[in-house]
């Protein structure tokens, strides 16, 4: 579940382990180039910073635009920023690298304190929830800026950051639609043809998936998954299952959860997963040795694969998740705090970066790997159809766009993080201690009730 994913980078040490999908979040460096050609930006006719084409009326002094952003996404943004600055003399983008953890807290604190917020912030979607579900005080509404162009973004993606009153708090950079990144060698060794079509066919349903996993295991010293828990979140989302009902009552002891846990438990009991903790040392070692068959993660997994196995060109492939599952594992947004002193210029930069073809292409290519933008227009870029040697010349990024519109919107509440923690614990008991899934999730339900008071 999320917390597994997010266990983020800080291996055992995670500084702050903020827990949720930090990885996901980070992965996608948002691109930023101000849209020179962007109509969008014009809307709040910024007198000086004219987003649009014209360079803002040259102020003689340089205006610095401060952005809080995860370190990982700075390098790819640099090139975008340089372009934008060339088009908008007088402005300088000042990247303040932040650690994954706690940027939300810090943003909240500066909103509470009335000062200290940056001009632009970069937040992952599970953190965005904290702002969205609370009405978004202190965050600028970008809906006027994109009103004409709303259809250019994936709808669910904007919905996630739309408040009750219709404020839109952020612009998506990357999104977290998941698919199966698989190791061609592992499938070959298991006697399953390893081209993407064959793998997709061999794992078309959840039952097929078990059969394939058995074959992978039979071949010896390799496993389909690093940890059976990775299936759980996919399963949950496939069923569109929320943690709470509309009355705010936790419902994690319902069938979808219990079934998902039971499936994962079965997977574990048959010895089909390597049973290592995700992101742990042993996991990292297996990653390097490429003995895990599949990693069900979002497009940003590309960055991880390049990082762990830089010399494995041609050894990977991407196939859809079993059962046509469509799950969303995180993603990030740019947002502009109310305190921003340069809103127009900030918007100009953001829209160039993630909502102009020129900017977003630069952004996509500037990083350690690819990721999937939330701006649909970008899907026409060649990068979506170009064969990628790292994946045996598969044009893999396109796979993520096929179902991009159909990600289920799952009912979210502010208490979701409580539920995630309880569910993670319940799942661990089911998997590691062989506890009865129904019982474990009944307990989790009670624990959640207590905690949300």
């Amino acid at each position: 579940m999320k917390s597994e994913i997010s266990r983020r980078a800080f291996l055992k040490l995670a500084v702050s382990s903020s827990g949720i999908m930090a990885l996901a979040a980070c992965a996608a460096p948002a691109a930023q180039q101000p849209a020179a050609q962007e109509p969008v930006a014009q809307e709040p006719a910024a007198p000086e910073t004219e987003v649009t084409t014209a360079p803002p009326p040259a102020s003689t002094e340089e205006t610095s635009i401060e952005m809080w952003v995860q370190e990982i996404s700075i390098p790819p943004q640099k090139a975008v920023a340089e372009d934008w600055m060339a088009q908008n003399p007088g402005y300088v983008i000042n990247f303040v690298p932040t650690n994954f953890a706690d940027t939300t807290t810090k943003l909240l604190a500066s909103i509470a304190a009335g000062s200290g917020a940056p001009d632009i912030a970069f937040e992952e979607y599970s953190s965005m929830m904290n702002f969205t579900l609370r009405g978004g005080n202190g965050i600028s509404d970008v809906s006027p800026m994109i009103s004409e162009r709303k259809d250019e973004w994936l709808k669910w993606c904007l919905d996630l950051v739309t408040t009750e009153e219709g404020k839109i708090l952020g612009i998506p950079t990357d999104i977290g639609i998941a698919a199966n990144f698989y190791s061609r060698d592992v499938f070959d060794k298991a006697g399953i043809k390893s081209d993407p079509e064959s793998v997709a066919a061999a794992t078309a349903t959840w039952d097929d998936y078990l059969v394939a996993a058995e074959a992978v295991k039979e071949a010896g010293d390799q496993w389909m998954l690093a940890n059976a828990s990775e299936l759980f979140e996919v399963f949950r989302q496939q069923q569109g299952q929320a943690y709470f009902d509309q009355n705010g009552e936790p419902i994690v002891n319902t069938e979808p959860f219990v079934n998902a846990a039971a499936y994962a438990q079965d997977f574990r009991k048959r010895g089909l997963d390597a049973n290592v903790s995700i992101w742990g040392n042993e996991w990292g070692d297996m990653m390097v040795k490429r003995v895990i068959g599949a990693y069900p993660y979002a497009a940003w997994w590309d960055i991880i694969l390049h990082g762990y196995t830089p010399d494995s060109a041609g050894k990977w492939g991407v196939a859809p998740l079993p059962g046509g599952a469509n799950a969303n594992f995180g993603g990030s947004y740019f947002l502009i705090p109310d305190q921003s002193k340069n809103k127009e210029a900030s918007w100009s930069y953001i829209s160039y970066c993630v909502a102009s073809l020129e900017g977003i292409e630069k952004y996509l290519k500037g990083g350690a790997g690819l990721w999937l933008p939330g701006w649909k227009e970008s899907y026409q870029l060649p990068v979506f159809t170009d064969p990628d040697p790292f994946y045996g010349d598969q044009a893999w990024l396109g796979i993520f766009t096929e179902n991009a519109d159909n990600v289920p919107t799952i009912y979210q509440t502010l208490n979701d993080s409580v539920a995630v923690q309880a569910v993670t614990e319940a799942l661990a008991r089911v998997l590691d201690e062989g506890e009865d899934p129904q019982k474990a999730f009944d307990d989790a339900n009670v624990a959640i009730k207590e905690q949300i008071g």
Binding site: R8, A9, F10, L11, K12, L13, A14, V15, S16, L23, C26, W68, E71, I72, V96, P97, T98, N99, D102, T103, T105, K106, A109, S110, A112, A113, G114, S115, G116, W279, N281, E282, W283, G284, D285, M287, V288, K289, I303, I304, H306, G307, Y308, A368, G369
Partner: protein, 283 residues
Amino acid sequence: MARSVTHYLRLHPGTVMVYVVLGIMTLVIVFPFYWLTISGTHSLSGLMGRFPPPLWFGGEFWVNLQAILNRVPFFRSYANSLFIAITSTITQLFFCSLAGYAFAKYDFPGRKQLFFMLLATMMLPAALSFVPWYIMMGKFGWINSFRALIIPGMAPAFGIFWLRQVIIQTVPDELLHAARIDGAGDFGIYARIVLPVILPGLGALGIMTFMNAWNDYIGPLIILSDVKKFTLPLMVANLSGWGGSTVHLQLLGAALATVPMLVVFFFASRQFISGMMAGALKG
């Protein structure tokens, strides 16, 4: 103190055993530092990919160091930590010794009550102030600033309590008397008489203060968000993850942060420990 130990000096078998047992124990205690030092010189697979893990140095020191430097401004965090630790130490030693001196050697009205108050503040658990302190730093505009890590802690109650103890035990009243008769002022007495006498104690407290600031984790964790301002512990914790497991880099980072301090400590340990004991409660 002048204990007669002479008869133990003849090598009593029991004594030999104590030496040996304590020696083995001490080696076990320092072993993790040895292992920390060697572990960062291996590649990831050389470290985690083999079992049993290595017990001797590997050949990847430069490779790993380069990887760290490519990833984060590691030496910058060294400078940050040094700056914070040195500034904190100097200010704390100054303010604590002043107050410790006043509490030890002046008999001013309210002294007992004020000292009691000071001790009482030590009882307030940090947890109590955690949230508001953070909000307060926000109001001051000190989030992401070293000020939040230095200024509020410039005169810690523990340091005052401890130096008062040292001054009571090591500064004879006669000395102060004599100086006063010679016409020295209050600050002059503090600076020229008291300070030199308590130097060992100051040194011990200074080392503790320095180490605390150097090693502090929670304060920087909630205050600092800009990686360029990270202190060493934050940087080491932050040295992970992206695009590759990096526990070997973290270990090297931790070794680079820790081992030089341990070496310094080792050479200063004699003075340090005797200074520590001067401020400790006596039975």
